[in-house]
Subunit: 646 residues, 2 copies
């Protein structure tokens, strides 16, 4: 309730939107970062004419309703899913970043087609979260002048008064980040002050603005200013007095006075008119700049340009061994021009992740050609993995972009909160996760992922690719780019990998396939990424002992699981024991194999060849275990691990 006056002013007088077409590209973006206050958002959406009904409001937090306990982006008018604190404000940075890049790319004198503000409300909780710190520091560096954030300063968190844990000077901190700061001291009643602050913020074009709005939580309630109104519902007598105080009939619930409905109807009408104006401007622009216009329209629809995938490189066994991070660089370089929606970056590991195609511009606020400008398509995220993840979610939510960002696989875990929301929200986001195993060598256990793939593979709706060679790397990008509803993590090696006989973009695009066929095999080895070629060599070792073995390459479980069961059983057939081989936790591999070879401990620092040898991930080491597996199951009826009883 403390935020209602701000919400009213913002939606009524500033926010540019058409509730009848909530996806209108010209709209301002609004993010409620403190998602637990979603009753306010749902109510505003209802009042301002979005397709959110009174029944939706009544079914708040009920099973199957459109109004869950925290707002999710499949509801019209909800730009991004919020609730996990700190994410929303970081998404807002991404939304504003996307706007500035698209505007710099497409606007022409007289045609400010892309010209929207991003408004966000955040609370103390968001401000305490590191992800917000990372993104807000970046926003200051990037001088995102059309980002206007409201700090809901209500002196309350769940633990009580903010004084128990949070006594920093928030505005000073944001100033240090390069933000413009404004304070509205009475956010409960000073609507003119809120209005003036937003107008001031809009005038500052070279810095993001924060408006601290000091409010009383539960304003008007008998409990106002206490944390008991933070999570819990108001008592009945309190609701009665509250309604009377503001001139409502205490006997009636969920009733909107007619005057209010009419007032808001005007805003709805104005929004619809603005969309018409915008469409007219686009029509004129289309005549003057037909190519740009069709490109912009295509991107706003989320359609890929025809034939882009022909740029994906393919390889044969005569090509040299190349690290898959380097193969990834080649893919990015080859497709970057045909896919202008790609906007890359790295969390300060550009030279290691190889995420920056050659001869491109950085996305930077200055006009210094050495450092880039807003038309640049490469973002220097700094050492801010979690912020990068949440900013990428915002860029993806804006539309017209496919963001990718690099870091070491092990440090994607720092961004777990954002990765999970990518998957939940169906954001089209790609992580370029290099140095994907003990194969990174000398940096040692602190940098070597062990549990990491078990973690990410267990997230619903997330592609987790670990390509074994050039063709598989192209397949990973093909699926990451075409499957727009599932984010991806592409895991890439630091060390060189040979080009495999039998791999192809088409086969790998199924998520898994038979790489080395064997007639009546004694054992199959299933593997991923940098271990596949070792498994192939293990087959040769086994042949010396008369053991027939085949190899399955399974670069992405998520994609493979979507193939028809018949295909899947052809890859993982009945009758053959299967050994998995991957230099990480074996957890999860039991779903695809009868026996598992992995590393269920932390890694080791040393040259990568030594480390692989130490863990016996050599042709001999894998062959030894494959032989043991074949012998263990000899004479037994072996069924495919893919069968399900229900």
């Amino acid at each position: 309730m403390g935020l209602a006056p701000l919400g009213h002013v913002l939606f009524k007088n500033f926010l540019n939107f058409n509730p009848k077409n909530p996806k209108w590209a010209g709209r301002d973006r609004f993010v409620l970062s403190n998602g637990h206050a979603c009753v306010l958002l749902y109510s505003l959406l209802h009042l301002f004419g979005y397709d959110v009904t009174l029944d939706d409001l009544k079914n708040f937090r009920q099973l199957g309703s459109r109004t869950p306990g925290h707002p999710e982006n499949d509801l019209c008018g909800v730009e991004v899913t919020t609730g996990p604190l700190g994410q929303g404000i970081a998404n807002a940075v991404g939304l504003a970043l996307a706007e500035s890049q698209l505007a710099a790319t497409f606007n022409k004198p007289g045609y400010d087609l892309i010209d929207n503000y991003t408004y966000a409300i955040f609370g103390d909780g968001c401000m305490q979260e590191g992800v917000a710190s990372e993104a807000m520091s970046l926003a200051g560096h990037l001088k995102l002048g059309k980002l206007i954030a409201f700090y809901d300063d209500n002196h309350i968190t769940i633990d009580g008064d903010t004084n128990v844990s949070f006594t920093e000077d928030v505005l000073k901190r944001l100033e240090a980040y390069g933000w413009h700061t404004i304070w509205v001291k009475d956010g409960n009643t000073d609507l003119a002050g809120i209005t003036a602050a937003i107008e001031e913020a809009k005038k500052v074009t070279d810095k993001p603005s924060v408006i601290k709005v000091t409010t009383t939580i539960g304003y008007g309630s008998k409990q106002q200013g206490t944390h008991s109104v933070h999570g819990a519902a108001l008592k009945k007598d309190d609701i009665v007095q509250l309604k009377e105080q503001f001139g409502f009939d205490p006997e009636q619930n969920f009733v909107i006075p007619k005057e209010v409905t009419e007032l808001y109807a005007q805003t709805v009408k104005a929004g619809a008119e603005r969309e018409v104006e915008w469409n007219n401007l686009l029509s004129k622009y289309s005549k003057e700049f037909p190519e740009l216009a069709s490109e912009l329209t295509r991107r706003l629809k989320g359609e890929l340009p025809a034939g882009w995938e022909k740029k994906l490189p393919t390889y044969s066994t005569s090509d040299p061994a190349i690290a898959s991070r380097k193969l990834s660089e080649t893919v990015l370089t080859d497709i970057f021009e045909v896919l202008p929606e790609l906007i890359g970056g790295s969390a300060d590991l550009t030279g290691s992740n190889l995420t920056r195609p050659k001869d491109i511009n950085d996305y930077q606020p200055t006009q210094d050609p050495a450092s880039g400008d807003y038309t640049g398509r490469y973002i220097r995220y700094g050492v801010r993995e979690h912020g990068m993840g949440a900013v990428m979610n915002g860029i993806a939510a804006y539309g017209a972009f496919i963001p990718y960002g690099g870091t070491f696989l092990n440090f994607v875990s720092y961004a777990a909160g954002a990765v999970r929301l990518s998957a939940l929200s169906h954001h089209h986001v790609i992580w370029v996760a290099t140095h994907d195993s003990i194969g990174l060598g000398e940096d040692g256990p602190t940098h070597q992922p062990i549990e990491t793939l078990a973690h990410f593979r267990a997230i619903p709706n997330l592609q987790v690719w670990r390509p074994a060679d050039g063709n598989e790397t192209s397949a990973a990008y093909f699926k990451a780019i075409t499957n727009s509803h599932s984010p991806s993590i592409i895991c890439l090696s630091r060390q060189n990998l040979p080009q495999l006989e039998g791999s192809s973009v088409e086969k790998a695009s199924k998520g898994g396939y038979t790489l080395v066929e064997a007639e009546n095999p004694d054992v199959l080895i299933v593997s991923t990424g940098s271990e596949v070629y070792i498994a192939v060599d293990a087959v040769k070792e086994l042949a010396k002992e008369g053991i027939k073995a085949g190899v399955i390459s399974l670069p992405d479980w998520h994609t493979f699981n979507q193939q028809p069961q018949e295909y899947r059983l052809s890859v993982f057939p009945d009758g053959v024991p299967i050994l998995s081989a991957e230099v990480m936790s074996t957890s999860g591999w039991q779903a695809y194999s009868h026996q598992q070879f992995g590393i269920n401990r932390f890694g080791a620092s040393g040259p990568y060849q030594d480390v692989y040898k130490y863990f016996e991930f050599t042709p001999e080491g894998i062959a030894k275990r494959a032989k043991a597996t074949a012998e263990y199951y000899k004479g037994q009826t072996v069924k495919s691990p893919l069968h399900k009883a229900f």
Copy 2:
């Protein structure tokens, strides 16, 4: 190299330590948060007489060496493992916090037994990480006056000049957090300036201090000031000129001039003398305060008080159904007094996590009895999960404490970077992770863990408890507290759980056991936490159809995996198909079951009973799948999933 002058001044003139007893309790703590600069640390340890040999230095980053690519805390003189950026400075906050609490608890007039400084060096990378932001804001709030941090301002990150991503005003930001700030403008040569700054910082006792030390990376090298000296080795000719410039023989490597050795020997001697003085003080203290002294000595040794575990509550089936978060609160309340090493807290969810035993004091900087003081044992971490995790690691590393901290299970993922380091570093840390499933109900998918247990169970050396009732909750705490080398996450329900027939602290302490015995069972159901009682009810449903079923409760995989194979096979025997049932990702469960029932999608918002019903986690729903499992394997030879071929 840029940090060498600072390291020299600090180790020579300020740092209080005895290299011959690196664990001396009275020592100052030193943390190198930018762990990639560990050559400096290893060199200092060698020069100042620690058990780090020239051979150790020569074997830097080699397999099996004591000097991995990033410093790990099993090397003498390395207080905490660093490398993952941001963690070290947050650990330093924990080290300083622990010191202040222990000092407030044990020191007496004339007996400043606990009186050490915590020094930390951090770089731009750390400052960009959210985890550092969270911990440094907390440190400011807590007024940790004996924390002195050095900001290595070298204008360089891996991506190049810090200007590409990091243009914030670092000192202003730290001021906003409540830190005292100092700037040494020439950190390359101004040793007197560094000295004066440290002396000033020591005089400011009510604020943490940061000393910005502006240096040139690779000072003296031909490449000084460029990011090419950040990760890569210097070229040979550059090394030659560098050595000549500083008066060394360029033909010799790994040679320490005799004068240097002698200079440092004095410091070593002084350190040994200081330990003797400290031991004398402790002896006098022991006479005047024998009880306090024996308590302090016990805690410093990491020994638990005899019989503490008798305080753990036990339950029988006549006790009411209670939420396990509430059972956890009872445990904490019962053991808090007998285990003064426990120091609790929550990331702003105290009322939900139920982590605060009644009638205790908060740990706070003021002397206001309402809000607590430094003797308090409950920390208001704020909404800072990652910071909390890293601070707890620091508290544990200090010794004499067992920290625990609460948040929702889903948001332990925000702290993944710190959790992994707890496990790698063997920190004795306990996460109280409530609202551990879809059973949290209305808060919905953004808050409901799905992949979370698959993630944490795959981390080596981590206990992940999900107790099913009161006895199992006591067992979880028993193991979390007695297994001091393995951190724990204790996953607890929001909803009530009945007390189970057949559970006991002793049985559950094995990590897994047969809860419901069955003679010649047709099927076994293995489950954890809030699903166990539903599985028990499913057995009754199955009996109606003449199907004999038993139930295995498996509250912690890590602990269970350490039991003898014979015991494990008695719980997961040959000859019976096993179904797992847990309201989360099934990933990993294949290691303990033949068929899996779980939730491989995101959750749903609604009253928890409705949500459980929706996902068919009811006695009938589990029974249906158990029946299908029994039928599927009928007539087949079924082996225990625990058998291994190698």
